[in-house]
């Protein structure tokens, strides 16, 4: 029997039982569209987060005490400004090293008060992290050396506290201490859920006094190019190891962060896809079930076809093609629904969705495979029917 003929026969059979075919397909449609949508969401989330990490500034090494990683306990910092000076000597270029002391503090102007991330840092920070200025000036070396009470505001903080008024030269009260505003950052958006436009930068020395601790939270080193990152990282780690034998420090690069987060999100996407895959499997069982019913119902037809000369492989092919047709039509509909659903989610919710060609190809391939896998048993049953018994069936 020719393939075109088998295909025509199968389509005819599916058309004959329109409602049943549609309902059977529905299971596959749901499974496939779930795979496409969930993978799109997983991939979208991954891309969004990776984009945010990339927005952190390129070629930066973050040096923190203790170990960084999933499940690692946070470590009390023992680093201070002397260590920053040491790292500067290790790196060799003081301009490539900056420092951060972070603390959430209330910031007030008159009766308006906002809660902001107050970061004590130095003059190198905006260059390493690429924070463009909108007005005024950056923090300077003298501000740090003389522990001045000056501040550079993130754009959102400035908007909340001053509205349309130019904040440069005005006073803000941080945790009860008055600061003079000397600069205003251009908006840069959020990274990692960290609203960088809600930061207030003050000299690190001033911040240590404000908080009452001589410690710093971390040191950031800017490499001049991607090739320099790894050697620089090693140099800083070795330097710190020499200074504090037996203690652990972590120097995290953007690539490492990307790798860690990428693998976590990849796992998440995998889990989502697996859950969706289970529903596809259930759809496949539905196909198998319906095909068994169909074989039983059409026993006489099978007997007749065999009497007229259908070989086992003809009957097998007929029912297998029917099953595969059910699942692949369902697969195509599921892909359309999944792509449409992903676009809709993308448009209507903050959840990002990125449709990947591989998930579409996989979903289609799997749905065809499901048809073969779950169609074989019923098709074999049909093919092996004894024609004499089949012809006599009710």
């Amino acid at each position: 029997m020719r393939t075109a003929e088998a295909l025509r026969m199968a389509l005819e059979a599916l058309r004959t039982n329109r409602l049943r075919s549609a309902l059977t397909m529905f299971g596959v449609v749901i499974g496939v569209s779930a795979v496409v949508v969930l993978v799109a969401i997983g991939t979208g989330a991954k891309e969004a987060i990776e984009g945010e990490i990339a927005g952190l500034g390129s070629n930066i090494i973050l040096v923190v005490p203790g170990q960084v990683g999933l499940g690692a306990a946070p470590t009390q910092s023992r680093l201070d400004l002397a260590d920053v000076a040491y790292v500067r000597r290790v790196v060799g270029d003081p301009g490539k090293v900056t420092v951060a002391v972070n603390s959430g503090e209330p910031v007030r102007v008159g009766r308006t008060e906002v809660f902001a991330t107050v970061t004590g840092t130095d003059e190198n920070m905006p260059h390493i992290f690429e924070r463009p200025l909108r007005r005024g000036r950056y923090l300077g070396e003298t501000d740090v050396d003389t522990r001045r009470r000056v501040a550079v505001l993130g754009s959102e903080v400035a908007d909340k506290l001053f509205g349309d008024v130019d904040p440069i030269g005005r006073q803000v009260t941080v945790s009860g201490v008055r600061f003079r505003v000397v600069g205003l950052y251009a908006p840069v958006g959020a990274t990692f859920g960290v609203a960088r436009d809600q930061e207030v930068h003050i000299p690190v020395t001033t911040a240590q006094r404000l908080i009452g601790l001589p410690r710093i939270n971390g040191i950031a080193v800017g490499a001049s190019g991607p090739d320099e990152i790894e050697p620089l990282r090693q140099r800083v780690l070795q330097g710190l190891a020499a200074r504090y034998p037996g203690e652990r420090f972590s120097a995290v690069t953007q690539t490492q962060l990307l790798g860690t987060i990428g693998s976590v999100l990849g796992m998440l996407t995998g889990v989502l896809a697996a859950i969706a895959g289970i529903s596809l499997l259930v759809g496949g069982v539905g196909v198998s079930n319906i095909m068994l019913v169909s074989v039983r119902e059409r026993t006489r037809e099978i007997g007749l076809r065999k009497a007229l000369g259908a070989r086992q492989r003809d009957v097998l092919g007929q029912f297998l093609i029917e099953a595969v047709l059910l699942t692949t039509i369902g697969g195509v509909l599921g892909i359309l629904l999944g792509v449409g659903g992903s676009l809709l989610i993308q448009a209507l919710s903050p959840v990002p969705a990125a449709i990947t060609w591989w998930s579409v190809a996989l979903a289609f391939g799997v749905s065809a495979g499901v048809g073969v896998f779950f169609g074989v048993a019923p098709a074999r049953r049909a093919a092996r029917l004894d024609p004499v018994i089949a012809l006599r069936a009710e």
Partner: protein, 259 residues
């Protein structure tokens, strides 16, 4: 049938000691107990017997729908024991046309496509199939029913579609299992006329299974089956049977006992 004894052509069917038993709930039932039989091309034979006599089993064996438990069956000179299932299917497709009591037409398929079905399994292309099916339907007087579905036709018409389907592949033999069983006498007569005409004009051997005496009487040879054996093999004497064998004298008739 006119050939002399020493150069007889290959018969359509030749059975030697043909037996078939079934196991029903552990009990062995002998449906056919050693049948010797020879049916030549061009014959018109009725297999007649009461229900449970084994005539349907014999029919299934002759139609290559089933295999004998023991004994030899040759169809067109080919020993069916040498064929696998695929070989049997191809033999059915090429050599045998079936007509069933309950017509066995595909309900949602037009008369034309029903008739063309055997050619599908022969790998014949669509247009040629339809052309041959159309000619077969014309031959049974249904040229005006090509696109009708079985449900839109009378029982007699349906059986004529089935006959057209049996003919479309130019088989050597048409096996008809109670072809008039579901028809009233007028339609039954019409179907018998077609089968008779088919046998006379085309030389196709017709083997029909029936329990109705008057249907069997239309055949030129009647093989009576009872208790799984050939009880009587009678031929109309009028120039028909080779070497003028009488029913009782036929060596194939009822001589062999079951196993």
């Amino acid at each position: 049938m006119t050939a002399p004894e020493h150069e007889r052509p290959v018969p359509a069917f030749e059975a030697v000691g043909l037996a078939r038993s079934y196991r029903l709930e552990g009990v062995s039932v002998d449906a056919l107990r050693g049948v010797d039989l020879r049916i030549d091309h061009g014959e018109f034979v009725a297999i007649i017997g009461p229900s449970g006599s084994g005539k349907s089993t014999l029919m299934h064996l002759l139609g290559c729908l089933d295999r004998p438990t023991s004994g030899i069956l040759r169809v067109n000179g080919v020993d069916v024991a040498t064929l696998d299932d695929t070989g049997l299917a191809e033999l059915r497709n090429q050599a045998i046309g079936f007509v069933f009591q309950s017509f066995h037409l595909l309900g949602r398929t037009s008369a034309l496509d029903n008739v063309a079905l055997p050619l599908v399994y022969r790998g014949v292309g669509r247009s040629e199939r339809r052309e041959r099916a159309r000619r077969a339907l014309e031959a049974v007087g249904l040229a005006h029913r090509l696109d009708h579905r079985p449900s839109q036709m009378s029982g007699g018409e349906q059986q004529r579609v089935a006959i057209a389907r049996a003919l479309v592949g130019d088989p050597k033999v048409v096996l008809a299992d109670e072809p008039t069983g579901n028809l009233d006498s007028r339609n039954g007569q019409e179907v018998m006329d077609i089968l008779t005409e088919l046998n006379a004009a085309r030389g196709v051997a017709v083997v029909l299974v029936t329990h109705e005496r008057e249907v069997a009487d239309l055949a030129r040879r009647r093989i009576h089956v009872r208790d799984g054996q050939v009880e009587l093999d009678e031929r109309d004497g009028v120039g028909g049977s080779p070497q003028g064998v009488s029913a009782q004298g036929d060596p194939a008739a009822g001589r062999r006992e079951g196993p």
